[in-house]
Amino acid sequence: MTAAGRAGPAAPHRPRRAPGLAALRPGLTGLAAVAGTGLLVGALPWLSGDDPARTVLRAREVEREPDPAVLDAVREQLDLPADPVRGTLGWLGHAVTGDLGTSWVSGQPVAEVVPPALGVSLTLTGAAALAAVLLAVLLAGPALRRAADGRGDGGRAVGVLAAALAALPEFVLAVVGVAVLAVGWGLLPTSGFTGPEHLVLPVLALALPAGGLLGRVLTGAVRDIAGEGWVRSWRAAGVPRAAVQGAVARRALTVVVPQVLLLLVGTLGASAVIESVFDVPGLGRVALAAALAQDLPVVQAAVALLVLLGLAAGGVGVLVHRALLGPAGTDGGLSPELPPPAPGAGRWAAGLLAVLLLVVAAGLLRDPDAQDLTDRLAAPSWAHPLGADALGRDVLARFGAGALHSVGLALLISAVVLVVGVAAGLAGRGRAGLADVLNALPAVVVGIAVAAVAGPSLTGAVVAVCLVAWIPLAVHTRTLAAEARASGFHLAARTSGAGRWHLVRHHLLPLVLPPVSRHALLRVPHTALALAGLSFLGLGAGAESPEWGRTLADGVTYLERAPWLVAVPAAGLVLLGVAAGLVRTGR
């Protein structure tokens, strides 16, 4: 029996469509997604109100005065469409015949710019995804061994390590990696992308946080599965330990594989910062520069390719999930159970949070805005217990003042996206769709669109982050719900006439909510960073705000001269991540 053949019976209760239409469906979805996002990109100049002639001129010549005659000359070359709809239709028409047009800025054919950059990005993110999976499996290893022995306890140290890794900012890892491994020890090249040795540092920067997150999700899944009845039965029946481990691992991987694919596609067009630090000619940088310059042909081609890849990866994720579930994915084949709560974890989380709160409280007693340039980059001392920043402002005071902003907002966003993600995941029917499209869009395109509509403000940043942050949670929910729907008790409840709400309330949510909430909490530090990541578009907190993500980004320039500028907010994020990772989400 093939994987596809087995996937079929997973949903026998749904009405079957005409086979011709079913075959057409992925193609139509792809076309609609490309047309839709193409229109979004094509409408950017109209949304933002910035004249493309001006932005293109600026990309070509930084210092040139925008004389009306010069702008007219540029505009003539751009063959700017009269309106976004007509422009997008024309672009689609050409794209279908394989003609992607020429870049407005450089005049080079788009086909010579975007595909090579995509190849480079695929190499980088593919390797990073692979490394992240390996790291996740390593982190989940101890839990897997205990599961095969029938124990669901322990493993707190690994959990803490994974949560700490998940909270590390990629760009900090990148800069530290360059300073230590490349400049300090001379082991690796600092930048460039001409051979495999150039992969190591950027892959480490991308894979450590991602691997930590995946590892934590995987560990949680292993522990939940260890409590399922069949594990007890297998062990009682004397099934070899290795076979039990293999089966548990396979079940746990079903949760992680769709996440890895999301990560792979989501990173493709969004790692502009890492690409810039390592001078990697990838798609993230191309998309960023082109989006800022409103070089529409390049952005449209990049977005179209990413969206198609995203849809394909989303579809593959669903297929792989079904394949991994195997025959158990049919009705009544699974018996997920509520895991017993991990004892004592709550106390640890409370302890860590208390430490964090104490430092924050100490900071709140001081003035975060007082400048004193004679104290520029001053090392920690009695006057400045955690040192001073580039303008001589007290780091402890700024840490405290920034906490409320960063943590409060990140927790709020996490709560919102948890609700949205779970709702969307429960409603979703295991098909690639909107989530995959949004996930594939480069953050800068989302950011510019949001900034254009909502205006450059903190609200804009929150909206932009929310727009993408619900996706991993929705996909997680979708995978877990698919397993719960395939359970015997769900089948029993359905056949005895239980209503839809009853099924959700009593059979899906209790199984889905704890692991997905844990996942959402793990992403809190990441959300705090994402908020600051859009500040170059004018989105987010004010320029002088002591918000953690922004202080980190500003401080990273001074990494070697004043390490405390990076260490303090990074430690704050890690503490937050670890505390969030330890919070009890089970009953």
Binding site: A73, L130, T190, T194, L391, G542
Partner: protein, 496 residues
Amino acid sequence: MSRPAPRAVGALLVLPALLAGCFAPGADAPAEGEQRLALALAFPPVAALSPFSDDAVLVTRMGVGETLVGLDEAGDPTPQLAESWARVDDRTVTLDLRAGVQFHDGTPLDAEAAAGALTAAAAASPAPRSIDGLGLTARAVDEDTVEVQLAEPDPLLLQRLAAPGLVVLAPAAYGDPAAPDPVGTGTGPFELTELRGASGATLTADADHWGGAPELDGVDVTFPADAAARTAGLRAGELDVAVNLPIAQLPTLTDTEVLSVPLPRLVSLSLDTADGPFADPGLRAAAVAAIDPQPVVDGVYEGRADVAEGLFNDDTAGGADRPAVALPPASDPAGASIRLATYSDRAELPEAAAVLAEQLRQAGFAVEVVVAEYATLETDLLAGTYDAVLASRLYLGDTGDPVGYLAADLTCAGSYNLARLCDPAVDAAVAAAADVADPQERRAAALRAEAAVLSTGAVVPVLHERTHTGYAPSVGGLATDPFDRLLLTAETTVGE
């Protein structure tokens, strides 16, 4: 259990490995004993090194392309591809080309080729900014004499020909006249043999260069846009020369030398004179009085910049006296609320803005600071959305002449008027300066216009920047060009 599922996972994991062939093309390994220099320039090419874009400066800095005339430190024309010249009338000049110059593709530089290059530049849309809208025509008078003519009389005709956008390339480069290709078509000490997109370029010494064979055998160029990447490459010994290093990281360069060259680049605070609090001259005067550039220079720029006495630095002033500035009496800000914008593209500006904002607060203003990427800000900056703009601006342009900057940035008709200044006295002073032909007097006239500008309080000069180039101790013979156009020369060497 059947096995197809693990196979599917296996296939998935192999996928990235298959794609791992996708690296950027690299430079070929150098031959044994070759003297090659590794150079990091600051910005990747935006238009495949077409000189009709900012890439023109990359072409001249790499020593690939040359212009007919050069500029000396005072901004006066010097011989380059043209050995001498004669002004026929106030809008025409004839230039005698240097004998025996060959393009890298072997074709000789003759008057036809030079005139063709200038004609292509004049026909570009838009034309390079030094000649845009001036109706430039060029024709070959004989084998080695070119006649260049403008539509109107122009005192800067020769200086305009020194702009990097007017490099003379071999006729073969103009296959696409809108985007000339400098690969193998320059005249400089180094031939551009390969351009690898935005990731790098390979240069080979031209042993037949008119100035003598270069000391170096070749150069490997990369374009890391991230300043930290350039600094790290230099510290790790991967690079011999890296340009535009950030001030924040200069103290980490312990084993390398740093060349600091003062630039004609002004960092100034433009106050919106058209509306908002700074429409009141009294409040502008209060802001001028409140701002003290010294802490910015000493703190944020760590002493690696010069406090601005006026719009122009002393090199540009050329020893001429600055006329007195007469500001209106300052009035009390009384908590007037202002928004101060700057951009993050230049690393020091956000920190400088924070310091200046604090000074304005001390004086009684309520200040909100806005920072974003320049590309997302420009429309708003020019539309007067903000009350004050902290910006960095090259004021000598492509021609070594300060009057163009004054006209574009500070007159009623100026197209880059951040202060939205429209003052009859300033307009008159700028118009008067534009008519002066003698370089010395032209500068004196520019200083009179500067005084007129400063008397309005519309612009608060803060500092003049320097450019910082890092190089390994073994490197010698780098050009120190205040116009930031030249870097590699035939004399550049790299030891062991």
